[in-house]
């Protein structure tokens, strides 16, 4: 009964989304405010319906209702409860349901938190949002129904893919989807602006928090996915240039570019057409990612099942929305008038360069990801494009970004002074040089790692030069400086932290060059040196568990003075699917990690194992967290909250120069 209710709620959500897609649009055409207002209530109702539907599926998984095909194929009665719940989206149908749940959530949030928004923009945006959700509701109901029953319910399920039985499953997909789907809001805003032909700095201001929100979640989702792959796949890599990873990197790059171009639009009324284009691009790439992952064209742990119908259906959705929005863009973009002018050497110019490099790097990822698919479709020839390709194309394009990031922050709007900016960067350059030399002297080869670390330190220090200049002035007391620091807008702090986070990740990446890797065979009691540590194999024991049997090796880690900690790498044999997985033993020490995986036990009781010492590796993900912290600070900036009502009220008559000088204001 609950299952049928859930199924019915999903059909109702489809009906609501069709109403929400068409009625406000008709209302806009006929100038009927009442019809336009319908978008808000339907958006909220639609979310409630999808949430009910999702709750019903979750219920079926929790109580192991094996009359549902989705539960039979992906669950097992002995599966731990956390995986029964997170297993709801550990399969194709359930993950699509999560996708639309988040889509509806964004729609509802938009309806609730848009009181200050002009009615036309609000209802058109919600209408576009409903077009997207209607397409995906249809996709789920027609090709991937999670509520399909089986004729004769089996006694037991087939269990979840063991690789997915990990706490990461509870976190990574929801975060990533919040990011992916979050860009649907900016897409809808862009389409609404194109339809109404009205776009101004206030528009950029409305869009900005949504872009930031999507970007924060996408960043977290990618970082989390990378760490999950790192600890679960057992060879210590964190980024493989796998098409599935690239599918999430592309919207991230486009979204990052959008975040920056929207600033130019908000402050200087320039780059309008480009910003609209990026908003369309970011979500188009999210859709492309969904297509790549969910259609079965790729071989991946993410592609749960391949079914040609689904691929064709998603492709149709892809073509409809990307093609539709780009045609709309082509027809209407010329009606948007360009605003403020600026010299090439200015904050705007720097942000244009940032956008150019980000989109170009995004294009290289696009080529590297899709070229093999096109080639196979056209000639039947199979090739694999791996890390060497991306090291030769993507990396040379992003390195200039790292150099220019801190400098761009120091350039003034409209017309900047490069020499002055460079002078202010000397501190960062000197610190970076010293740090790089010190690291090179300490860790030695390879030189490239020291150079990369130097660049990273330059980026971290450079990110705070702007803020430092605003806080530290001559003859100011400590308390005055503190007041100045607190008086700075949160977005200034956010920018600094987000940029420094990039530097921190880069530092972790560069330090991989100093890693140590050993493949050894150890017996009980054997010791081995690994970087600054000494490892001893102290125990090998079998450990049975509810749905798998584990072979656990206990390894003690020592430094010069004694035992530091111990790790327990293991192999798990999952009973239902007779599949083994490897659990790495990981210890985080001084920002680096000792990482050990074991193979099956040899006949003579010895163990083959792979040992890594990865100095500073945790900075890669810590940097990602700092980036999202920066994003959160920007999101909490008062300009986004207080400015809203006023900006909406007197749109059309903007201030001539919207750049406030907060320090002056604070004094």
């Amino acid at each position: 009964m609950i299952i049928e209710a859930g199924h019915y709620a999903l059909v109702l959500a489809l009906a609501l989304s069709i109403v929400q897609a068409s009625v406000p649009l008709y209302g806009y055409w006929r100038r009927q405010p009442v019809l336009m207002d319908m978008a808000q209530s339907t958006a909220v109702m639609q979310f409630i319906m999808v949430a009910l539907s999702f709750a019903a599926l979750t219920y079926a998984h929790v109580v192991s209702d094996f009359s549902l095909r989705n539960v039979v194929e992906n669950s097992h009665s002995t599966k731990p409860m956390i995986y029964k719940i997170s297993g709801v989206w550990g399969n194709h149908e359930g993950s699509m349901l999560l996708w639309v749940l988040i889509l509806a959530l964004f729609g509802a949030l938009l309806a609730i938190f848009s009181r200050h928004m002009p009615q036309v923009l609000k209802s058109l945006t919600l209408s576009i949002q409903a077009w997207i959700s209607a397409a995906f509701f249809l996709f789920i109901l027609l090709t991937s129904n999670p509520f399909a029953r089986v004729g004769v319910p089996p006694m037991e399920g087939q269990d979840l893919n063991p690789i997915l039985q990990d706490p990461g499953l509870a976190i990574h997909p929801p975060l990533l989807y919040l990011g992916y789907v979050g860009f649907s809001v900016t897409f809808s805003f862009a389409a609404a602006a194109l339809i109404s032909g009205r776009i101004d700095p206030a528009w950029a201001r409305f869009v900005r928090p949504w872009t930031l929100l999507a970007w924060i979640f996408l960043t977290l989702g990618i970082a989390m996915g990378s760490y999950w792959a790192y600890y679960t796949l057992g060879w210590g890599g964190f980024w493989f240039w796998d098409p599935v990873e690239n599918a999430s990197l592309m919207p991230w790059l486009a979204g990052t570019a959008l975040l920056h171009s929207a600033v130019v639009m908000e402050k200087r009324d320039a780059l309008k057409v480009w910003t609209i284009f990026l908003a369309i691009l970011a979500f188009s790439l999210s859709l492309l990612g969904t297509f790549l992952v969910r259609s079965g064209v790729l071989t991946s742990v993410h592609a749960f099942a391949s079914d040609p119908d689904r691929g064709v259906f998603i492709l149709a959705i892809l073509v409809f929305f990307i093609g539709g929005s780009l045609s709309l863009f082509a027809f209407r973009a010329s009606t948007l008038r360009q605003g403020g002018v600026f010299a090439p050497l200015s904050r705007e110019g720097a942000l244009v360069l940032n956008n150019l490099l980000l989109t170009t790097s995004c294009a290289t990822v696009f080529v590297g990801t899709l070229y093999p698919l096109f080639l196979e479709a056209l000639t039947g020839e199979k090739i694999s494009v791996g890390p060497p390709f991306f090291n030769m194309t993507f990396v040379p394009i992003v390195i200039p970004i790292f150099f220019l990031m801190p400098i761009g922050q120091l350039l003034a709007w409209k017309r900047g002074d490069l020499l002055a900016a460079a002078q202010r960067m000397t501190v960062a350059l000197i610190v970076a040089l010293l740090f790089g030399l010190a690291l090179a002297a300490w860790h030695g080869e390879p030189v490239l790692a020291a150079v990369g670390a130097g660049l990273a330190v330059y980026l971290i220090v450079g990110s705070f030069v702007d803020i430092g200049g605003r806080i530290f002035v001559r003859k100011a007391s400590t308390s005055q400086m503190l007041a100045r620091g607190l008086g700075l807008p949160r977005s200034a702090w956010g920018t600094a932290f987000a940029h420094a986070g990039v530097g921190l990740s880069l530092l972790g990446l560069a330090a991989t060059g100093w890693g140590v890797e050993k493949i050894v065979t150890l017996r009980l009691g054997d010791q081995i040196d690994l970087g600054p540590w000494r490892l001893e194999l102290t125990k090998i024991e079998p450990r049975p568990n509810s749905n798998f049997d584990a072979l656990v090796a206990q390894i003690q880690i020592r430094d010069g003075s004694g035992i530091v900690t111990q790790i327990e790498p293991a192999r798990r044999l999952f009973k239902t699917r007779t599949m083994t997985t490897s659990e790495a033993g990981i210890a985080t020490l001084r920002m680096g990690q000792v990482y050990v995986t074991i193979a099956e036990q040899n006949a003579d009781q010895s163990l083959d194992m792979r040992l890594y010492w990865k100095p500073y590796v945790s900075l890669i993900w810590l940097g990602g967290l700092i980036m999202t912290l920066g994003g959160g600070l920007c999101l909490s900036d008062r300009r986004l909250r207080i400015g809203l009502g006023r900006a909406a009220a007197n749109k059309g008559k903007q201030k001539p120069n919207a750049q406030p000088h907060p320090v002056a204001a604070a004094e």
């Binding site: 600026f342 090439p344 150019l356 590297g368 494009v385 390709f389 493949i519 007779t578 083994t580």
Partner: protein, 161 residues
């Protein structure tokens, strides 16, 4: 700078960046992608030593020789042609004789010799009874030795350097 000059500057910048990126992409696509071949397909082609490729097929029965704890040689076969593979690293859990495998690496000797030699730097094995890299499934089907059901696949993450 005049309005026209600014516009020219930005257009030049954009075209320049895209041009450089295009050049790098084309250059990288020539040198750093690896072909997926079966032993028979390799025998038909004249590839020079040092070419990168992914070789898919079955591990020939009785061909696995363990040289050390982490070093093995084995033969990949597709029934008609063989390729000898040498590999150093932990062998994937599901690597077994008679099972499907994909080895990625560098061609060691000229293709004119009797048996091609591949120095593998990564070996992917069949992941379980149902999950198998699509490339293996496709090549096994083509050779008529496919036994499994649908190729629901996940890349068996064996070893990467």
């Amino acid at each position: 700078m005049s309005r026209k000059g600014r516009r020219l500057f930005f257009i030049g910048l954009i075209l320049g960046t895209f041009g450089i990126a295009l050049g790098m992409v084309l250059f990288a696509l020539r040198g750093s992608v690896s072909l997926f071949l079966t032993p028979s397909e390799l025998a038909e082609r004249q590839l020079s030593a040092g070419a990168r490729l992914r070789m898919g097929g079955l591990v020939k029965e009785g061909s696995v020789v363990k040289l050390g704890p982490q070093s093995i040689t084995f033969i990949i076969t597709d029934g008609t042609k063989d390729v000898a593979v040498s590999y150093a690293g932990i062998i994937p859990d599901l690597f077994r004789e008679g099972q499907g495998v994909v080895a990625e690496g560098v061609l060691a000797s000229p293709t004119s010799s009797a048996v091609n030699q591949l120095r593998a730097d990564s070996v992917l094995a069949k992941h379980d009874e149902n999950y198998m890299p699509r490339e293996i499934a496709d090549s096994l089907k083509k050779q008529g030795v496919w036994q499994g059901g649908s190729p629901n696949s996940s890349p068996a993450p064996a070893q990467r350097p």
